[in-house]
């Protein structure tokens, strides 16, 4: 057993930490969130230079052969920095899908472009009314000539407004399939909007979208296990992001307890608040353990073990994040609910992580169901 990061990993962590301190301070981030695109293209280029866009891909396709623990450490830093860039949609979700299911031609065409920061992607999978159920897809793929025609509606597609290409899930006679389409293809309509945490997403309508045979990623009708794996991978990444935010929130809250004076003393002198802060630190350490478990297990070839571990981690981390987020706001008093401090923004991002790709109840239920099988 070894809980240490390698020197390489620590160096990457340090690089990202310095980047966020120097080039992505809170005020810059606030301005970016309000800008038209909602994130920084230069930051994306910098990500490419750092190699983090290449991290989870094989070296044959311009990748760095990284594992999910590498992704964990990146996500933790992106969490701390309150990154607005669509890293999870492009690298974790779509990059993961192409890596796992794409053919050689697709990998050669797409993965180096992602790694180089030239290509952004979004996964158009979840649908209105489907809540968090991964297999509830009504979008259809109808055979047409040598290819298909896609029709349907996709909900809250993260990163879609800036995506060059979309990976769309659709149902044909056999099951779920994945298709790579141009985001501006005829028949694709986006309704873009900001999200509560300052990022961007869109609802998407697909109307008679014609795709060729080469658009299919993986086998026709066989996409469900691939999508499940990608969502697990994204959830493990979100757990790590949440842990990064929780650690940052604990730091700013501790600082506030030490400096904010009322009744002639720093408020951190009050035992009620000391114990609250201690609870937040305990919750964060426990959450970190679960995020680590998820990162290690998400690369497992045993799908049952992988899914079970990620569900456990996402449920637990979300519960912990709720406690830490709410209490960080409470301990900051009025300063916790204003737009001009990072506390509220960390809190909002934590809340939205908890509602993305399954909330705490969904994942608790998923984990709980595995008890019956045991």
């Amino acid at each position: 057993m070894d809980f240490n990061y390698t020197e390489e990993q620590l160096a990457l962590q340090d690089t990202l930490r310095r980047f966020y301190a120097r080039d992505y301070a809170f005020e810059q981030r606030r301005a970016l969130a309000k800008s038209a695109e909602g994130f920084s293209r230069p930051a994306w280029k910098t990500f490419a230079d750092f190699g983090i866009l290449a991290l989870p891909f094989h070296e044959d396709f311009g990748g760095l052969n990284g594992n999910a623990v590498d992704t964990m450490l990146v996500m933790e830093m992106l969490g701390r920095g309150l990154a607005l860039e669509p890293y999870v949609p492009t690298v974790a979700l779509c990059g993961g899908l192409i890596r796992d299911a794409g053919n050689t031609a697709q990998k050669e065409a797409l993965l180096p472009a992602i790694a180089g920061g030239e290509l952004m992607l979004a996964l158009a999978h979840f649908e209105p009314g489907a809540r968090y159920e991964v297999d509830r897809v009504a979008t259809t793929a109808t055979a047409s000539g040598s290819g298909w025609q896609l029709d349907g509606t996709k909900a809250v597609v993260l990163g879609a407004p800036s995506a060059d290409k979309l990976i769309v899930s659709a149902r044909d006679g056999k099951g779920l399939s994945l298709f790579l389409i141009d985001a501006k293809a005829p028949g694709v309509t986006l309704r873009a909007y900001p999200t509560q945490d300052g990022a961007r997403a869109a609802d998407i309508r697909l109307s008679k979208v014609a795709v060729g045979a080469d658009a299919l990623i993986g086998t026709a009708g066989g996409a469900l296990p691939v999508i499940e794996r990608a969502i697990d991978y994204a959830n493990a990444a979100l757990c790590a992001e949440a842990v990064g935010i929780m650690s940052a929130l604990n730091e700013v809250t501790l600082e506030y307890l030490k400096t904010r004076k009322q009744f002639g003393v720093p408020i951190g002198k009050f035992q009620a608040l000391q114990h609250r802060m201690a609870d937040m630190v305990i919750a964060t350490e426990q959450a970190r353990s679960m995020a680590t478990l998820a990162a290690v297990r998400v690369d497992s070839t045993d799908a049952v073990e992988r899914s079970r571990s990620v569900a456990a981690a996402k449920a637990y981390v979300t519960q912990s994040a709720r406690l830490v987020g709410q209490q960080a706001v409470q301990l900051h008093g009025g300063m916790g609910v204003v737009d001009e401090l990072n506390v509220a923004h960390y809190f909002k991002r934590l809340t939205m992580i908890g509602l993305t790709f399954g909330d705490a109840d969904y994942h608790l239920g998923k984990f709980s169901d595995t008890l019956l099988a045991a």
């Binding site: 209105p128 009314g129 909900a155 509560q196 009322q262 009025g334 809190f347 809340t351 509602l355 909330d359």
Partner: protein
């Protein structure tokens, strides 16, 4: 012991319902029930309608134009108003400064200010907290120096107030100011009424985490305030302030509003789906709704017990009000959190236009129902409820000290 409403109380409820059906403007109730933005005019219009009915101030004695209703009647009124989607009657004039003016103001002040509060002419806001004085309010530093002058004796006020709710609309602000730095902090505070149009006052917006402008900083630079606007005696303001905080805590249980929001939560949970079935059929989620409902059932009765006891003793609410504030705020937070949770991924979009009353919906987002837009923002916004009005930590101090003697 009888938990049923009497026949007289039932018929009173009917009377209130009939009034609301006839007089509550539909455009206003649609906004309230739909979680849309309210304008200043919505609050003012509703106050004027209530006043025309003789119900402008349900908590005031008849002598000042109030209804003279007992606690149970007020409770019924609050509950029916909330259920019908009436806007909250903002507490700053009616429930905060007015009781202070009645108890400690002179007849001239009572005649000058109270009629304009009850008929909606004057919008009041609160000048209590300062950047360095929140929970430790008595440490406040905004100075008021008395100047005797042939044009009229006055105070000159300098300092900064914060967490001022809706002061951007206000005609008047009631302020705690420091008139002495000798002796205990509490003994150098006075209670001043200040015209917001006075030269030297600047209102600076504070944007909250939900993106809305609901609170402000108010800066005072050499603001002249006639001595006639001092309430009671100089340096006795802390006594009046504590009296006022006791009044603020009673309405804060918000039972009526929370009952309405619980109903809304159940409605949404019937519309949203999980596993192809209405979300309310999901037992894990339904249990969460049930748990909040238990809390609210208990609070409703606790609230009635506390206000009935006050009615009998004819006194301002005591430290028990802290229980109402703590539980009331926690329940509000739980309800908004569950409402947000019903939406799944649709909790994420932030569609600002959708909070406007005339938002026509979006054909591209049919599944993003009209009810969805305000819910996440509400959850973020009501984090304030455990912070304001004396944070819940301060309320627990009050319970520990005043009830338990610890």
């Amino acid at each position: 012991m009888d938990l049923n409403f009497t026949a007289a109380e039932q018929s009173f409820r009917e009377e209130v319902r009939n009034f609301l059906r006839a007089k509550l403007p539909a455009d206003i109730s649609r906004k309230v029930l739909g979680g849309k933005r309210l304008e200043k005019d919505d609050f003012v219009r509703w106050q004027q309608i209530l006043h025309a009915q003789g119900w402008g101030a349900t908590g005031w004695p008849v002598a000042f134009g109030g209804t003279g209703w007992n606690a149970v009647q007020q409770h019924i009124f609050d509950e029916e108003c909330a259920d019908a989607g009436a806007p909250l009657q903002l507490p700053f004039g009616l429930k905060m400064v007015a009781p202070v003016i009645m108890a400690f103001g002179n007849p001239a002040q009572q005649q000058r200010f109270l009629p304009r509060i009850i008929d909606g002419s004057d919008w009041w806001c609160q000048g209590y907290s300062e950047p360095g004085s929140g929970s430790d309010l008595a440490s406040l530093k905004t100075r008021a120096v008395r100047v005797n002058s042939p044009e009229g004796d006055h105070y000159v006020v300098t300092g900064q107030k914060t967490w001022n709710t809706l002061g951007q609309y206000a005609d008047w602000i009631f302020c705690l100011v420091r008139t002495s730095t000798e002796g205990r902090q509490q003994e150098g505070i006075s209670f001043l009424l200040i015209d917001m149009k006075s030269p030297g006052i600047e209102v600076r917006p504070i944007i909250m985490l939900d993106g809305e402008h609901e609170i402000n900083e108010v800066w005072f630079e050499d603001v002249r305030v006639p001595v006639q606007n001092l309430i009671g005696e100089e340096n006795k303001g802390w006594t009046y302030a504590k009296f006022l905080l006791g009044h603020e805590r009673t309405g804060i249980a918000g039972v009526g509003r929370s009952k309405r929001e619980l109903k809304k939560l159940k409605d949404i949970a019937k519309k949203e789906t999980a596993n192809g079935r209405p979300l309310i059929e999901d037992q894990r989620f339904r249990d969460r709704i049930a748990q909040v409902e238990l809390e609210l059932m208990a609070l409703e009765i606790t609230n009635l017990r506390v206000i009935s006891a006050e009615g009998e003793k004819k006194r301002a609410p005591g430290p028990e009000a802290s229980i109402l504030k703590i539980k009331g705020s926690e329940i509000q937070q739980m309800l908004t959190e569950l409402q947000m949770q019903t939406l799944g991924h649709y909790a994420l979009p932030w569609i600002d236009d959708a909070l406007d009353a005339d938002w026509a919906g979006d054909a591209m987002m049919e599944a993003y129902a009209d009810h969805a837009a305000p819910l996440s923002g509400r959850y973020f916004n009501v984090r304030k409820t455990t912070i304001y009005g004396g944070s819940n930590e301060i309320q627990k101090n009050i319970i520990s000290q005043m009830i338990l003697g610890l």
